[in-house]
């Protein structure tokens, strides 16, 4: 049976790849895409989501626009990584459709009810929409099968020494999600920093001369520039890794741990505090990925991206 999912995202170069993967996979059925301000502003990420589904030949996928920023902290974007448009050098056609009438949080609740507890939320941006939906619809936790999340880190951060971008962008929302009781699979920097694609592998995509693969190459090349300027050798595919782990759970090893999100703190705001040594006395609330099979991940990524005409 296909896993029914909503992708809550802020495309974003790696979000775009994750969306292409999901739409190509026979293992998941994308029932909708919700957008949230993150990598770039809400208008851009929503336009990008619409362009992406249309480019993939799936105009039928509903896109619901979400929040334009976090509730409690100032919005911080990732334009330095993803370019002003959010999709680097991609040359995507302008969107030909409109977002649905429902706001993202309403859309999530409606779908969750329709799917009667079988809906999986794949969150690859800041968690504002999900936190909002949780407080708007108290019954939501019982209607969600699980959350597959790209976010956080048990170790080192990226946007600050302590924090990963998606969590840092809206720490209060992330805290609410981790406290919600919904089963969470967390794919943080501990694995995604090692989910790197090499220049040779990007060349395989390029040589295929297929339309979706070529768009991915365009985007990845602008992403590569940023990563190399930061001292990284490879290109870490954060969001695609979470999507890949949903499609094939054997690419990651996970362990149940207690995770709290620091919402205060001078140096640590947005840090996911992962109790790896079990010293907090708190019960585990997330299944945190700590190891990966990179080669298997890249094979799956290639297979899916090259499956488009």
């Amino acid at each position: 049976m296909k896993e029914k999912i909503i992708i809550d995202c802020d495309p974003g170069i790696d979000d775009a790849l994750a969306i292409f993967m999901a739409l190509a996979s026979g293992k998941v059925e994308v029932t909708g895409i919700t957008t949230v301000a993150g990598n770039v502003g809400i208008e851009n990420v929503t336009g990008n989501a619409l362009s992406l589904v249309s480019f993939a030949g799936r105009k039928d996928i509903p896109v619901a626009k979400g929040f334009s920023g976090p509730f409690m902290v100032k919005r911080k974007d990732g334009a330095i990584v993803h370019g002003k448009s959010g999709l680097g050098n991609a040359l995507l056609p302008d969107p030909v459709s409109e977002p649905v009438e429902l706001e993202a949080a309403e859309f999530i609740y409606k779908k969750a009810k329709e799917e009667k507890g079988n809906l999986v939320l794949v969150t690859i941006g800041p968690l504002t929409n999900i936190a909002a939906a949780l407080s708007m619809y108290p019954s939501l936790p019982s209607l969600i099968k699980r959350i597959v999340m790209m976010g956080g880190s048990a170790g080192i951060g990226n946007i600050t020494p302590a924090a990963e971008f998606n969590i840092y962008a809206d720490p209060h929302a992330a805290a609410a999600v981790f406290q919600s009781g919904i089963p969470i699979e967390m794919y943080g920097l501990d694995v995604t920093n090692r989910a790197v694609i090499t220049a040779e592998e990007i060349k395989i995509l390029k040589d295929s001369k297929r339309k979706v693969a070529l768009q991915c190459v365009n985007m990845l090349n602008s992403y590569m520039d940023f990563y190399q300027s930061m001292g990284y050798e490879g290109l870490a595919l954060h969001d695609p890794f979470a999507m890949a782990a949903l499609i094939d759970s054997s690419i990651a090893e996970r362990k149940d741990w207690f995770v709290a999100v620091e919402t205060d703190g001078k140096f640590t705001r947005g840090k996911t505090v992962v109790d790896t040594y079990g010293v907090s006395g708190e019960k585990p609330n997330a299944s945190v990925a700590y190891n990966l099979d990179r080669d298997k991940f890249i094979s799956l990524l290639m297979e899916l991206l090259l499956s488009y005409e």
Binding site: N193, V261, T263, K266, V273, V274, Y277
Partner: protein, 346 residues
Amino acid sequence: MTLPVIMDCDPGHDDAIALILAHSHPSIEIKGVGTTAGNQTIEKTTLNARKILEFAGSSVKVSRGASKPLFRELITAASVHGKTGLDGPELPDPVLEESEFSAFEMMVDVLENSRETVSIIPTGALTNVAMLLLARPDLKKKIKQISLMGGSAIGGNWSAAAEFNILVDPEAAEIVFNSGIPVIMSGLDVTYQAIIKDSDIERFRNIGTETSVMVAQLLDFFKKFHEEKFPHFGGSPLHDPCAVAVLASPELFVYREASVHVECRGRYTTGSTVVSFAGPPRNMADGSIVSESSIKSDSVYSILSQQVFESVSRKDTETEPDVKVLVGIDREGFVDLLAGALERLK
């Protein structure tokens, strides 16, 4: 040439062994010993320091330090170190009296009267050292370096995010890490690799001297806590002696340059050391780049700690990277160093 040092400690089983290593090692000269509250109350840690030094044959007087952290209430670690702070061996009451000088006065005296710069080795909360730096900034230039046990780049041992020594007095730690004095940080990242196994304890016991048998008894007690709480270690991490060992045998250690801030007002993260790495792993002795981690195991914890070795250096730090964060240790060499220290003593 010996390295003059001030010890600042809260014995504590691993503090005790750090004191013995510093006392025994030919390249280190203890100029003063101060105590701090942490593993136990100041009364107990001061008495323990006196007992240990006298037992090991040192004639250094112990100077009592602050009885509580700068701004917070004291937390202690009786679950690790027992009621006395040094449960295990029966140690005779010391004959030598406690110093008439406080830890602060002792440090001022040693620094003022030393012609060369002095290294400070704190193996407890950083209260005394922070007080010294605040009250006598003029003496900073007399401090060669601060080699401390505390903190971690990943994870904590007392809360999910914080290591005990830093958690006891986070404000003091933030003052020390950002004082401009070079700091060597022996945090959990390295001390969790400094594991003493049962066979090492037997090796120490079989040296057969009074001190070596006493140290084996300390370790017998110390391992009970770790067997119960951290069974995956396969032994006890010997935290505090790392801060001494890195000065005695730097070639055993791998470090990365970093800047470090201490979170003092987090909800879940107070007392955590926020480490921003600014350079590749290097050997402590000659600065040569070390390309491969000595961590071989594929356990969850090794995989996580691999990050402290290979994570990308940040270029955007606002703070000077004047901390050397230890990320690797030659465990066998470390055990040999401890055994050698015990062989030199009665």
